[in-house]
Amino acid sequence: MVEVKNLLKTYNQKNVVDDVSLKIEKGTMTSFIGPNGAGKSTLISIITRLIAKDSGDIQIDGQDVLKTDSNELAKKISVLKQSNSINLKLTVRELVSFGRFPYSKGKLTKEDEKKIDESLAYMELEDLENKYLDELSGGQRQRAHIAMVIAQDTEYIFLDEPLNNLDMRHSTQIMKILRRLVDELGKTILIVIHDINFASCYSDNIVALKDGKIVKQGRACDVIDACVLKELYDMDIEIQEIGDKRICVYY
């Protein structure tokens, strides 16, 4: 369980993350939604120790994140940031192999190779495994990065806008894979996402943020609500039920 209490982060006297408290249950997929500058990415970065917090408390399975050994933590949580501009000459397989670093420190064992093969298969990257990253399309590169996170084999996976710059086909493909990770392997996934329909269709829970504060958190069907979204985005959003899915129409 991820437990965040009274988290605060200030840049130039502006509270980017303002007294945020939340609990994330194991084995669920949680989406963080909200307008630009709501503090979603900052929140994810603080929870995964990429950015220092000003005050507050973060516990993962009862352990304080900052007091846990960084390498041990890397076996429990993994994070993929928005911009992954790696300027190294790396093949897909080499990138995915980096995911095993917390376990093997660069010397890959048989078990590591097996995990790498599995995650390549999971992301359907076997055909591309010997291609260099700069030869790939944006979607393929994004899948390679997610494969690396899968190879890291952590209980908790944090993704910061993994659908950025992807078309509908690749977006749904990635969301389906993430859903499978939760349903089949019991992973806990926390994801920052802009498209509220993707959040509505694939996630169990949604946390809505605005100006660093939580506007509402709860089950996806409760947060995807005309009143909540009006408060969040300052625009009228009509919600249609199509099948069992709640779809927002805001065009």
């Binding site: 890397a74 995911g99 670093f101 917390p102 660069g106």
Partner: protein, 316 residues
């Protein structure tokens, strides 16, 4: 696997060139010439190795292929110390003549300077590496200005001596200092072994490194200290030559086309030795000591640097 073969070839060329340098035209009083040549070659291999090594690590830490440790201001500090000593004591003074004292003073000042700089900058929470580089650059410029200031004040003959110090030269290295440098470098390398495994991951960038469990600040701080000590040793031994690192490490990356630091470091050390031993060979046999090696290195390096800029420009 091609990069392994290439590294091996570089090793063979480096060793062959070194042997050529030591054994070429070896006649007359061998008992006198041979030890002198071996000391020179040792000095070259040490400096070349240390510079290549330090630059590789530095480029990985900063994630930037056109930065060398010289932006930390160490060469400038070295020049300031040299000029200051001449200014205060005159070029005939004991400290200028006795190279051991000069070596120890320079190396001590450079290392203490870096430690103070790091301690000061890593104290707060805002430990941004580019901020560190900015401060290093500003201090470097500050030292340069002071060097010019002292140069204007001293008399022209002394100015010649001071200026001479600004060019790396292997023609008069001190034997004891070479042994001392070997000792320091071996100790630093032993310390480095603990951090070696992190380099490949650090090359991915800060976020990925932290995600993969690297204690980023801890590792970076120690690697920077290693870079400073190696740069200080090389500079104090033969003079400012950090430009060589830019040249050598970039050639290595282009040549090997791998990200594995073990091979990048080895190959860059070999290329560095090839460049320095080959350069020194040219200085001695073709220019008959009319120029110093750093002139050649800076010329070739400058041309390559411009090529690099133009190439990057095209790829945008």
């Amino acid at each position: 696997m091609a990069y392994k073969k290439k590294t091996l070839i570089l090793a063979i060329v480096a060793i062959a060139l070194t042997l050529l340098y030591v054994l070429y035209d070896l006649k007359g009083n061998i008992g006198y010439i041979l030890p002198r040549r071996i000391i020179k070659v040792l000095a070259i291999v040490l400096t070349g190795g240390a510079i290549a090594f330090a630059t590789t690590v530095f480029m990985t830490i900063t994630n930037n292929r056109i930065l060398t440790p010289s932006v930390l201001g160490l060469d400038s500090l070295y020049m300031l110390i040299q000029t200051f000593i001449i200014f205060v004591f005159g070029s005939n003074s004991i400290i200028m003549m006795s190279s051991s004292i000069n070596y120890l003073v320079s190396i001590g000042a450079m290392i203490i300077f870096s430690l103070v700089l790091y301690r000061f900058l890593f104290k707060g929470e805002k430990n941004n590496i580019y901020f560190l580089l900015l401060i290093g650059m500003i201090l470097g410029t500050f030292f340069n200005s002071f060097t010019s200031f002292f140069e204007v004040l001293i008399d022209p003959n002394e100015f010649m001596v001071a200026q001479d110090r600004g060019f790396a030269s292997i023609n008069n290295v001190n034997e004891d200092l070479v042994y001392l440098s070997i000792g320091i470098i071996v100790l630093v390398l032993l310390y480095f072994l603990r951090f070696y495994k992190y380099l490949d991951v650090l090359a991915l960038g800060k976020d990925d490194a932290v995600n993969l469990g690297v204690s980023y600040d801890y590792v970076i701080k120690r690697l920077l200290i290693i870079v400073s000590i190696l740069t200080a040793v090389a500079t104090a031994l033969i003079g400012p030559i950090t430009f060589l690192g830019l040249l050598v490490v970039n050639i290595t990356y282009e040549f090997l086309k791998t990200y594995r630091h073990l091979y990048i470091i080895l190959a860059s050390v070999f290329i560095s030795v090839i460049a320095l031993v080959g350069g020194q060979f040219i200085v001695e046999k073709i220019f008959t000591f009319q120029t110093t090696i750093s002139v050649i290195i800076n010329f070739v390096g400058g041309v390559y640097f411009i090529y690099l800029l133009l190439k990057e420009n095209r790829s945008w």
